[in-house]
């Protein structure tokens, strides 16, 4: 496709650090190639700010191919901006028009405090994972042969679809309750669907849900915004599965 250049206005959340009060700042940016990704546009803004001896905007990003889950911007009121099934690094400027004003904010959630500008602290996700997001198998090289337990393709595929979660937090940012249930539901489902994960299924779901609540995430009220904004298309079926697993575990747990 032939590339074009557009001129845009940016309204960006600037916040010096976790304790400072933030505010929206306005920047004009010209000659943005429509072939650029959104983050390349941000690079261009930062280059302009540096040349003007101003401090560049801090934002999280790393792989820039939609898989690391690091980029986390709330653009024009939507997590990862105006496209579905995408991360911010895979959003391209051809989705915008010449003369547009674009609003860029960090994820907003109590459990994701702002560190600086557009950078937030998502370590709550790590702690939920540490509470139970694993199979308790040590490294040995003496586990059974990988083909010893056949797994129905349907289950393996569903487990994979749940495991495709990139842990970006768009679900939390999009949810009016700041709920993390899509993230937790996906992890619980991945293991619940595989024979290797069944052994610890009860303990896992109880521990992960407990940690999720302790971190200050809200509850799910079935709005479904998370599913719409999830860059990897994780289905809210996973939340339903987690709820079933949780109920089963809570009613029959021996602890």
């Amino acid at each position: 496709m032939a590339s074009k250049y557009i001129n845009i206005t940016l309204k960006v959340w600037r916040q010096k650090n976790a304790n400072a009060k933030g505010a929206m700042e306005t920047y004009k940016l010209n000659e943005v190639s429509t072939d650029s990704s959104f983050l390349e546009m941000m690079d261009q803004l930062n280059e302009q700010l540096i040349n003007d001896r101003q401090e560049p905007v801090a934002f999280d990003h790393d792989c820039r191919e939609g898989i690391c889950g690091m980029c986390s911007m709330y653009i024009n009121g939507r997590a990862h901006g105006p496209d579905t099934g995408t991360t911010t690094c895979q959003l391209h400027m051809r989705k915008f028009n010449d003369g547009d004003t674009i609003y860029i904010e960090p994820w907003r959630a109590k459990a994701f405090p702002v560190i600086k500008d557009l950078v937030v602290d998502r370590s709550a996700f790590d702690r939920i994972q540490q509470a139970g997001g694993f199979v308790s198998v040590n490294t040995s090289g003496r586990t059974m042969d990988a083909n010893a337990i056949p797994v129905p393709k349907v289950d393996a595929d569903k487990a994979f679809e749940a495991a495709a979660c990139i842990g970006c937090g768009a679900c939390v940012a999009s949810c009016k309750n700041s709920s993390a249930m899509l993230f937790v539901g996906a992890k619980v489902s991945q293991y619940a669907l595989l024979p290797q994960g069944r052994v610890e299924a009860k303990e896992r779901v109880l521990n992960m849900v407990r940690q999720m609540d302790e971190e200050g995430f809200g509850n799910c009220t079935n709005t479904g915004a998370c599913e719409v904004e999830c860059p990897k298309g994780i289905s809210i079926e996973n939340i339903a599965r987690m709820n079933r697993e949780f109920l089963k575990a809570a009613l029959t747990s021996e602890k």
């Binding site: 690079d43 790393d62 998502r122 994972q129 308790s136 042969d145 994979f160 495991a163």
Partner: protein, 670 residues
């Protein structure tokens, strides 16, 4: 003359690792909690090492610069992981995997290391399945496989186009479990900025807390560096933006040799460059070469018409297309190794047949139409329709392709705004992986005692060219199945050492080195951004130390990089302060190290007067344009010793490679 002892054990190749392992020293379980181990980097190698050592009972501290260990760039590996399971009954074995890897590396890797890798490859798959990694399966419930370049068997395990993600999340889950149990302490948003040596041994690191800017001292009885490769020296590469050489370069400056820095993998199938503001290049998995056919037009005027938009690729008749890989390499066809495929694409584009409408016309087609038709017909047949309509064939064929490669096709469309189900993908080679790295012995120990290096950060297993789906294998092999044994052997002598204090002159000195390098950046008050210099470095490297290299270009590159280094330190501007989150400062510190490394790569490429694997010297090729190795003079690992700020003074040490079990021969994929 050589200071390099590879410590390769005696014995038959198939018994070396087993015998060696049986005689390594151990640390008893009651002594392990008295011993501290630092792991830097949490990709496949780092996460798996940290998790395994934590499980064993050592006190582990793990570090990553990202906001979570799960973000390490192993996450982005797409196609798959090799293992000699022979589930497909197509003649695979440990020996075949070993042989393919040595040959694929153009006979510049160590036999013993590679054989060990092949031996443990099967254990990796078992381990990952036990962890709940959802590999692709067949309808019978058993694991599926596919082919990768440079092999004639199907030994690649995969999870759609997200195999690296699934394996890393598996290792991350094992690591998370140990963090939850208190066996591993995780330091995210922390960057290692130097190593601390006491009496010649690695005893700790200096790290910067990237949120507060605090400079921290961490001590340990052993330090493992698993910080990935240095492809970002080219600015544009398939690496993540944060990927860097700093940890590896800091240990190099403190005595670890750097081996074969010029061995870089240029991956054939990446999305072509679009413009000056581009920040990175995106890989399209090699697995696509199972189904896609690579071509350019046979006639230059057709290529020109395509570039100018007057002709569509789908309008070009079959006989007017040049499937150049199938033409040149009939035995392996589109599945030749990466270095071979990349050079062939460059050769066609240099000759004027490129199809991309950018400044360089550099691009070739990767076309799925044959596969869509053939799989569509098969699927219709399987449904009982022996005379399917054209529409039905295309519909079923596209469905098959979507199931195999859906996420890759979607990513391609997002980036290029073109639908690869309807029109062929445009691709061109891009920097992807670095075979060179820190020199290590058989134990994966660098030339600093107590400092081990794993995964892409070391040089050990891939020679001059890595085969597809072998990086994931090596990362996990090092972390799960090699380091736990060899690090324990080293630590067996440390059980009486006791806690290592950090209030010593050695820590003080290392901390001062770090602080003065940060001060230097922030007080410089120059006029240009870090990216400005990084982009210039990238251009020098791509043009003169890239896919085709020659004596004159390399000599120019060495001079130009030396000049760039002076300019960088005179004129770089780093805003902000040291006591806060400061991404520009992080970049500046990394680019300073990449500049030094870039110069060493050019020096290494200049001394290697032969072509092998990814290292192609224009002067050394045969009449058909294939690499011309010189085994008599260059069958060695080039390991460089740091000699101070002037990189041109680095001293070369040679480790002679011995081939006792494989007959060394010219690589032939024809």
């Amino acid at each position: 003359m050589s200071m390099l002892d590879s410590k390769i054990p005696e014995g038959h190749i198939s018994q070396k690792w087993t015998d060696y392992k049986n005689h390594l020293k151990l640390v008893a379980p009651n002594n392990r909690p008295k011993i501290d181990v630092i792991v830097v980097g949490t990709g496949l190698a780092g996460s798996s090492a940290a998790a395994s050592l934590g499980e064993m009972g050592y006190n582990v501290k793990a570090f990553c610069f990202q906001d979570s260990p799960r973000r390490a760039h192993s996450i982005a590996a797409q196609g798959g992981i090799n293992a000699a399971k022979n589930y497909q009954n197509d003649g695979d074995s440990i020996y075949r995997l070993f042989y393919d890897t040595i040959k694929g590396g153009d006979y510049r890797a160590r036999e013993a290391n590679v054989h060990r890798l092949a031996e443990v490859s099967g254990n990796i798959i078992d381990q990952c399945v036990a962890q709940g990694v959802p590999f692709a399966r067949e309808y019978g419930g058993l694991l599926d496989n596919r082919s990768f370049g440079g092999t004639q068997v199907q030994r690649t395990f995969y999870a759609a186009g997200q195999t690296g993600q699934q394996l890393l999340l598996g290792a991350y889950s094992a690591l998370s479990r140990q963090v939850g149990l208190g066996r591993v302490q995780m330091f995210h948003r922390h960057e290692m900025l130097d190593i601390v040596k006491v009496d010649g041994k690695a005893r700790g690191i200096i790290a910067r807390n990237l949120v507060t800017g605090e400079i921290e001292r961490h001590s340990a009885h052993a330090v493992i560096i698993a910080t990935g490769g240095y492809g970002n020296v080219y600015f544009l590469s398939t690496n993540a933006m944060g990927s860097n050489v700093t940890a590896a370069w800091k240990i190099h400056k403190q005595g670890a040799m750097f081996a074969n820095p010029c061995f870089v993998q240029i991956h054939p199938t990446c999305i072509p460059v679009h413009g000056a503001n581009q920040s990175k290049l995106t890989l399209m998995s090699e697995s696509l070469r199972n189904s896609g056919r690579i071509w350019v037009p046979k006639r230059k005027e057709d290529a020109e018409a395509i570039r100018e938009g007057r002709l569509k690729p789908t309008q070009l008749a079959e006989e007017d297309r040049d499937y150049f890989l199938e033409r040149r390499y009939p035995a392996f066809g589109n599945l030749v190794p990466r270095d071979v495929a990349s050079r062939a694409a460059k050769e066609r584009c240099d000759a004027g047949y490129g199809i991309e409408a950018n400044d360089t016309n550099e691009g070739v087609y990767l076309d799925f139409s044959s596969e869509i038709r053939s799989k569509g017909k098969q699927a219709a047949f399987a449904q009982g329709d022996q005379n399917p309509s054209e529409d039905k064939i295309l519909e079923l064929g596209k469905k098959w392709v979507e199931e195999k490669y859906g996420n890759l096709f979607q990513m391609y469309e997002k980036i290029t705004d073109e639908n690869p189900y309807e029109t062929p993908m445009k691709i061109y080679p891009a920097v992807h992986y670095t075979m060179g790295g820190v020199w290590v012995d058989y134990n994966l120990q660098s030339s600093i005692p107590g400092c081990f290096v794993a995964g892409e950060a070391n040089f050990s297993d891939h020679g001059a060219n890595r085969l597809g789906a072998s990086a994931l294998m090596q990362g996990l092999a090092d972390g799960y199945f090699v380091l736990p044994y060899t690090v324990s052997d080293y630590l067996a002598n440390e059980i009486r050492t006791g806690k290592i204090p950090t209030d010593t002159p050695e820590f003080e000195e290392a901390e001062n080195r770090v602080k003065s390098s940060i001060d230097r950046m922030l007080s410089n008050n120059g006029t240009k951004s870090v990216d400005h210099f990084h982009k210039r470095l990238g251009l020098i490297m791509w043009n003169k130390v890239g896919m085709g290299r020659n004596e004159q270009g390399l000599k120019e590159a060495i001079e130009e990089i030396a000049t760039l280094k002076k300019e960088f330190f005179a004129d770089v501007f780093v805003p902000g302060s040291a006591e806060e989150l400061n991404p520009e400062l992080e970049k500046a510190l990394r680019v300073a190290d990449l500049i030094d490394l870039g110069q060493l790569m050019a020096i290494d490429a200049l001394q290697r007067k032969e072509s092998c694997g990814g290292h192609f010297r224009d002067e050394y090729q045969d009449e058909e344009g294939e690499t011309l190795r010189d085994d008599e003079n260059f069958k060695y690992v080039a390991a460089w010793e740091y000699k101070g700020d002037d990189i041109s003074q680095e001293q070369l040490h040679k480790e002679e490679l011995k081939y006792e079990f494989i007959k060394i021969a010219a690589r032939n994929y024809k």
